[in-house]
Assembly symmetry: C2
Homo-oligomer: 340 residues x 2
Amino acid sequence: MNLKQLAHMLALSQTTVSRALNGYPEVNEETRRRVMDAAKRHGYRPNPSARRLATGKTGMIGYVLPTGASVDIDPHFVEFLSGLGDYARSHELDLVLSPADADDQETTYRRIVANRQVDAVYISSPRPADRRVALVNTLGIPFIVHGRSEGFDFDYPFTDIDNEGAFHEASRLLIQLGHRRLALINGDDRETFAIHRERGVRRALAASGLALGERHVCSVVMTEENGYRATKRLLEAGDAPTAIVCSSLIMALGVVRAVRDLGLTIPGDVSLIAHDDVFPWLRPENFSVPLSTTRSSIRLAGARVAERLAARISGLEEGVRGEVWPVDLVVRGSVAGAPA
Amino acid sequence: MNLKQLAHMLALSQTTVSRALNGYPEVNEETRRRVMDAAKRHGYRPNPSARRLATGKTGMIGYVLPTGASVDIDPHFVEFLSGLGDYARSHELDLVLSPADADDQETTYRRIVANRQVDAVYISSPRPADRRVALVNTLGIPFIVHGRSEGFDFDYPFTDIDNEGAFHEASRLLIQLGHRRLALINGDDRETFAIHRERGVRRALAASGLALGERHVCSVVMTEENGYRATKRLLEAGDAPTAIVCSSLIMALGVVRAVRDLGLTIPGDVSLIAHDDVFPWLRPENFSVPLSTTRSSIRLAGARVAERLAARISGLEEGVRGEVWPVDLVVRGSVAGAPA
DNA sequence: CAAGAAAGCCAAAGCGCTTTGGAAGACTCT
DNA sequence: AGAGTCTTCCAAAGCGCTTTGGCTTTCTTG
């Protein structure tokens, strides 16, 4: 059932039927009702390919997915996707993932824009002066950055959490509890979020005349194993930290294992605070010692990004507003006063 | 730069240019070279929307993503996606995720097929007599099922692992080590994979004249917390098992925590084998006691599914062949002879 | 009551590609 | 040399929708 047939059986022109369906004003309300009714009754759905060709609108949002044998997709991604999908569903949007060589995403961005394959894109895990952001900005497709980049001579729309503030608060608490030697087990420090988190820790320490020891900060891919190794190294060295701030719950698993391996305890010997993106399948309150966390739902972020993308597509959102969400500091059993 | 312009500057018709580009035989090789060359030089890329409208082919594969506030996407999904994306990238395929209400995916399947939004779809986590499989089968779109359904009067193409065999082997080993009371901490038993795994355990037990105690099998959503709870319950009851087989590494984290909480040890008091889908961020060899696993890379499965989908789209694969991959049983420190 | 405005509808021209049905020229064969 | 066969290319017809520009009617208004 296509427009032509529908128009024919209503004894109307395609023009009128199309306009009636798309809510244009120059059609009689009575006629519109007739058309709408017939369309519904016959299950008429406009062919999206044809509509795309005519309008250029696709009803899809895009994401360039870095892939490769040695590239791992962040497990946080599913949660982000849950949020995004939840919003997208209620607005008839689909998400298209365009896999790209992790080292050459630019080509793919150019392709999906040139081909008009999607109405908007989002960018995640940005780095300072991220080329993707600059590219997408010049290509002129609506976009939202999830996270932040830095060092551009232009502004751009983003949704991010207050990573610096979160880690500042966490560190401040530890300092107040008497800790003097903090360590930071961070994610890849080429990414902005990791830079911000480190900045937060340093700022808190500096406020008390302390500093982050050179060997007390490490930047690794956020796996359980790396959390373990980092902790082992930290605690076996001479000036072992008495408190650790950690960028992910998964790494925190490794931290806990390392501490136990060394015959130490949390929080007796080491206090621990980790960042929690809120996974349904791994909860900080269920760690052997309930874990204190800086908490921010990445699922909500996904929904928000989708919402803003939809708004930008339909022209409801303009400008380059960046928004920064506060992060909760949730204190549980894994922190205590510094050992004597 | 579109076909018309390109044809015009080559002083050829659109027909010829189109054919030259698409490898049709009725064009002079010399001409083809000229066309190809000019196309490359001017960076001509056929407009996909137009091509879609004309051919119906989209160059996209589809996945209906169940969403909802209370629906969690399986974290395995990112790994599957890695494999899928890796293959798709090298074949210029994109993946479109169509979010759907988890309780009404049918509408979405119908939509994406009716709209010709994708060339093929895959279905994951199927259940016995899964309605999605039946639906997609009648809709006539190429598809592959990742996993297996059961109880249809038709065959369908799938790629699955030998869940029953894997859990049979794992159980057999435990029995040979003298264990008599096994327990199974399984995933949602409405899904086929869970049914097959239980079947494997039962078959191994039956071969030695044993059975799976009624309270020794539980079926839960695969979270750390549920692993913990199930284990706690199992071990605190009267006829506590001496060995546990567990359907996921994440649940195994909870198992380990529960065992420790009760002052017991692995493998001294309880032997443990879990299924490992191979995550880069959580490895069984890094558990406090290295974990024995039944191992099968879900990433490879993703790549294989993409490969088969591509083959079916281009008509290279026909028929309804199902393939079942063997699973490795990897023995590490978490198993030992039954306690006396 | 004639003239101008507004409302309601339509025919046809795209959007950019593929594909059908020829046609012209070159080549083969008897 | 004439008939038949390839080879190589082309014009034009879709694919199904939106949108432009215009044409009737009907409704105002002085």
